[in-house]
């Protein structure tokens, strides 16, 4: 079993920490209260989750980007300027940095992990609140939708499936074209050989029949030989030039597509950088609080020494202005007793205003900071797209540079060969015209055979390019791509192999329609995307299926088998119905919604967490449970741990569970 190495710096209350976790096992982190167990696990979660974007609410709820030293649970160690989490596993590396500004950056993370990798009671994760506090009652639909991207993947699936099907036919046609071209080449060789023989036989006959003198015969023979050689040269060069031009066109198309991609990415980067450059001015909180304090003192001084309860009632009434006529009369009278009405109202207004001012300034700052955080991610993605486009352009230029350099010379050679070929053809015709007679049946037979062979040769497949035009991509006639044999093999592949093009799909998942997906695929044809269409389609379909149904299916499997292992449990099974409502079956046969003791709920929560991880973030190697074991009695704890151990071993997942141990003053990691 491999190990996962976790290193943190300035996370929680610890300056530096490093632990080794064993993959495919349950790793128990023990320690006293405040020993840093939860901080370490939240640090790991920060690494897995990375910078907030889509799921900012949950990330902020768990204080994963909290750097405020005055907050009750900042993740950044108080007094330090930057926190760092590094997770090394199977040669892979996940890294997250948490600077004082709260703008998390990193690599290798997956934001969805904030819902799928941890169950914790302090701060409470969404799952914890849903299961232990019953926040949403029996409604657990959120587990299948909160991080699901199924609807986006379906757009890709709808485009990819027809392409995959059409490619089967196109590949077959391409193979047929190649083979008919190959057969044609072989037949041409045969014909050439026979033509040479026929020329010899005709020559002998002509001589025997006295239809030609020796000099003319010799000249004609030489001219015919030269003509054949020039024709072969001419055809060979014509083919080479056509191939080279088709390949260059492919490179030019790659450049055009990369330039278009680059232009969009540059604009996206500009937009993101403008957002990053937004003014970020932290509010002067002490000053704002001083203003509130001053306004409060002013207000207190004008309201005199009325009982605080009366003042509180009047304050609430001033805010809401809702009361029956009799109550309002009493309040007005009490308010008059308070002193100078106008001054009090004015002081009250000022107090309200300065409080609102502080709230608004702080909110504005938080919102701006959050926007800037999202912009940094957007900018990084755009930079990566620009880099990839530049790479494609450089590669296409390099390919074209080397081959295109030969083109002018080849065209010159071709022109020269064409001249020679035509000259020799003319010469042969002229010499043949000088041949007198020669119309014996034998000669006629040989001549007509020669002509028939020549006609057959001309009719053989001579096209050097195959036109690729996919109707599933709605390619117009002028969008057809001419493929040479090599290029076709490179672009179409043989239908096996290839790998899922996850990057392309994932980076173009949101707000995209079928026409845009088709355009993206068209733009990638020259980069060989068709080779990967099969695996990509399969992967997309699998993802859709996972995200749509797998959460429920896995949960139901786990929910049934788990409780079967607990003969003394009152609950016999836990399931999600088709409306994602939680159904629990009890030992008396009754079926209810969410209910049960802490232990039973812990098992339910663990089952949901496992199901969500499997469905949405199967690549994330860690699953963590914090603050739950303590809530279970020894027997239930053992059942949960045994269940987790089974799951860890089967799926190769690293499970981390915290356990309060008042004897361990420092965090200790052991394996179950």
């Amino acid at each position: 079993m491999g190990n996962i190495k976790i290193s943190t710096k300035n996370i929680g209350g610890t300056e530096k920490a490093s632990v080794q976790l064993v993959s495919g096992s349950v790793n128990i982190i023990e320690g006293t209260s405040f020993s840093g167990k939860s901080s370490l696990m939240r640090g790991v979660l920060l690494g897995l989750v990375g910078a907030p974007n889509e799921h900012r609410d949950e990330i902020e709820r768990l204080h994963l980007n909290d750097t405020d030293p005055e907050s009750h649970s900042p993740l950044l160690r108080r007094g330090s300027s930057e926190g760092l989490v590094v997770i090394e596993h199977d040669g892979g590396k996940i890294e997250a940095r948490l600077p004082l500004s709260g703008r998390v950056s990193g690599k290798g993370s997956n934001e969805k992990a904030v819902y799928t990798s941890m169950l914790s009671d302090l701060p409470k994760t969404n799952l914890y609140s849903a299961v232990f506090d019953g926040d949403n009652g029996d409604d657990f639909e959120w587990v299948s939708t909160v991080v699901s991207e199924a609807k986006h993947y379906i757009v890709w699936q709808n485009v990819l499936r027809p392409i995959k099907q059409e490619l089967v036919t196109v590949r077959a046609k391409f193979e047929q074209w190649k083979s008919s071209k190959g057969d044609g080449d072989a037949r041409k060789e045969e014909i050439d050989e026979r033509l040479e023989e026929l020329d010899g036989e005709i020559d002998v006959l002509r001589k025997a029949q006295g239809a030609i003198d020796d000099k003319l015969r010799s000249n004609l023979k030489t001219a015919e030989t030269q003509h054949r050689t020039h024709a072969a040269d001419y055809n060979h060069l014509a083919t080479e030039i056509q191939v080279l031009k088709a390949e260059n066109e492919s490179q030019l198309r790659r450049i055009a597509a990369a330039n278009a991609q680059k232009k969009i990415a540059v604009r996206r980067l500009d937009e993101a950088e403008d957002l990053e450059n937004t003014e970020l001015i932290a509010p002067d909180v002490p000053k704002l609080e001083a203003a509130i304090q001053k306004a409060q003192e002013e207000y207190d001084s004008v309201r005199k020494d009325a009982p605080p309860s009366t003042v509180r009632i009047i304050d609430v009434w001033l805010e809401e202005k809702i009361a029956g006529p009799k109550l309002e009369e009493v309040i007005q009278s009490e308010r008059a007793e308070l002193g100078d009405k106008s001054k009090l109202a004015e002081a009250g207004e000022i107090l309200k205003k300065v409080k609102a001012n502080k709230d608004s300034e702080v909110r504005k700052f938080m919102e701006t900071r959050s926007k800037i955080g999202s912009a940094s991610q957007m900018a990084a993605a755009a930079r990566s797209e620009i880099k990839s486009a530049n790479q494609t352009i450089a590669d296409a230029n390099a390919n074209m540079g080397v081959k295109a350099a030969d083109l002018p010379k080849m065209e010159e050679d071709f022109a020269s060969s064409e001249r020679q070929y035509k000259l020799s053809e003319k010469e042969v015709k002229t010499l043949r015209a000088q041949v007198a007679g020669g119309d014996s049946p034998e000669l006629k037979k040989l001549t007509s055979e020669s002509k028939a062979l020549q006609d057959e040769k001309d009719s053989l497949e001579s096209s050097t390019t195959f036109e690729l035009r996919l109707t599933s991509l709605q390619m117009m006639p002028n969008e057809g791509i001419l493929l040479t044999e090599d290029l076709g093999e490179h672009i179409l592949g043989n239908g096996s192999g290839g790998k899922a093009n996850k990057g392309l799909v994932n980076s173009n998942l949101m707000d995209i329609g079928s026409p845009e997906v088709r355009s993206l695929i068209k733009a990638e044809i020259d980069n060989g995307i068709l080779v990967n269409i099969g695996p990509t389609t399969d992967w997309v379909s699998e993802t859709v299926e996972n995200q749509q149904q797998q959460t429920r299916r896995i949960f139901n499997e786990v929910g049934t088998t788990l409780f079967e292992k607990m003969p003394n449990s009152r609950i016999k099974s836990v399931e999600l119905d088709t409306d994602y409502r939680l159904r629990q079956t009890w030992d008396n046969g009754e079926t209810t919604g969410l209910a049960g003791s802490g232990g039973e709920r812990a098992l339910t929560a663990a089952a949901i967490l496992i199901a969500m991880r499997k469905a949405f973030t199967p690549d994330i190697p860690i699953l963590m449970i914090d603050g739950v074991l303590e809530k279970l009695d020894i027997s239930k704890r053992k059942i949960l741990l045994d269940f987790l151990k089974d799951y860890a071993e089967t799926d190769g997942v690293t499970i981390v569970v915290s356990l309060l141990n008042e004897k361990e003053t420092e965090v200790k990691v052991s394996t179950l």
Binding site: S81, P99, L100, S101, K263, R267, L269, D270, E273, E276, N277, E279, L280, I281, A282, A379, K387, N390, Q391, A394, N397, A398, G401, A404, A405
Partner: protein, 350 residues
């Protein structure tokens, strides 16, 4: 020597620049002589190790006509500067202003094309130098203060060599021109920081003791200094707008491609925004009593001036001679002495 260098470094040379000089005291236009060659090699997609090897290989070049070989790193700047480039922009160094010739693009008359090709090199040699004075020069477009940030200009002709370096590469007409200049932003940053005190920013209150001091720099008000970007060539209001309009008209005459004009307009609009963004500095930037001026100059003024300095030069390249300089192919490059540390920084940022 061209071929010898090409064979020696075993790596595609994308361009050769020829440092063309005149004999001292020469007053009239006539052919100069080559006093140096600059070989441009694209290392964008090489890793650090390969670049270091290439450097060693280039430095070991020996030839009877070559007395000195040196290697520099040139980085084509995005215009406007993006955030990472701005944050590492050196406050002094060398900069190259590069243009590609239009070769009479847009003309249909053979005589006009010949004329354009015949004059573009001279027009460029005179007009591309931003600190040049005299007939046909461009120095007057910039304030004396702006020009003081630039010095020591050197003229080079450009010969692209996509299909390999051959013996006769430099004997044909150049495909473009380039000025290599020294630049130094330190004085501008110093003066602006000093003269903006109590206008854009104020020192920390010595009586206010706090562990987390912070200062607001609000440059929204223009100040008298000519170093204030509001006075740069690209932010001259109607005058700048007219230059842009002229550039667009020329582009339409040359290519008639509205997409290109749209792209150019987009870039110029971004360059000419003249944004004066408020910034806050605090403990993250090392702010403490007594070092306010230093922190503000390093973290606020220098990146801002760098951005507007490059914008100004970019604007100049795009609008000065659109008839002769191919728009969209002008480049501002920053040149720094070779060091493996610099390569690592640039590769990390890539």
């Amino acid at each position: 020597m061209l071929v010898a260098m090409n064979e020696h470094i075993q790596h595609p040379i994308v361009e050769v620049m020829n440092h063309n000089r005149l004999h001292e005291g020469q007053k009239v236009s006539r052919a100069g002589y080559t006093s140096g060659l600059r070989f441009i090699i694209d290392v964008t997609f090489l890793d650090v190790k390969a670049i270091v090897q290439l450097n060693n290989q280039a430095l070991s070049f020996n030839h009877e006509f070559c007395s000195l070989s040196s290697v520099s790193i040139s980085e084509t700047l995005p215009i406007p500067l993006d955030i990472p480039t701005k944050s590492r922009f050196p406050e002094l160094g060398r900069i190259m202003l590069c243009v590609r010739f239009t070769d009479g693009l847009g003309y249909t008359d053979a005589k006009k094309i010949r004329n354009a090709i015949g004059t573009q090199t001279k027009e460029t040699k005179d007009g591309l130098d931003p600190i040049g004075t005299g007939k046909g020069s461009s120095g007057a477009r910039f304030s004396e203060e702006f020009r003081s940030m630039l010095s020591d200009s050197k003229w080079l002709r450009r010969f692209p060599s996509l299909t390999g370096v051959s013996k006769g590469l430099l004997s044909g007409a150049a495909a473009g021109g380039c000025y290599d200049l020294s630049y130094d932003l330190r004085e501008a940053v110093r003066q602006l920081t000093e003269s903006s005190e109590e206008i854009w920013w104020s020192k920390l209150d010595p009586d206010e003791l706090t562990l987390t001091p912070s200062l607001l720099v609000d440059p929204s008000e223009k100040i008298g200094s000519k170093f204030d970007p509001a006075n740069y060539h690209h932010l001259e209001g109607d005058k700048s707008d007219n230059l842009v309009e002229n550039m667009k008209n020329v582009e339409m005459e040359q290519t008639g491609d509205s997409d290109i004009v749209e792209d150019l307009t987009y870039t110029l609009d971004r360059m000419m925004r003249g944004r004066r963004i408020r910034k806050q500095v605090g403990v993250n930037q090392g702010l403490a009593h007594g070092n306010e001026s230093f922190v503000i100059s390093e973290n606020v003024i220098l990146p801002w001036i760098a951005e507007e300095f490059v914008n100004c030069l970019g604007f100049f390249l795009m609008t000065r001679k659109p008839k002769y300089w191919r728009n969209g192919q002008c480049e501002v490059r920053v040149v720094q002495p070779f060091s493996s540390e610099l390569i690592e920084v640039l590769k990390e940022a890539d």
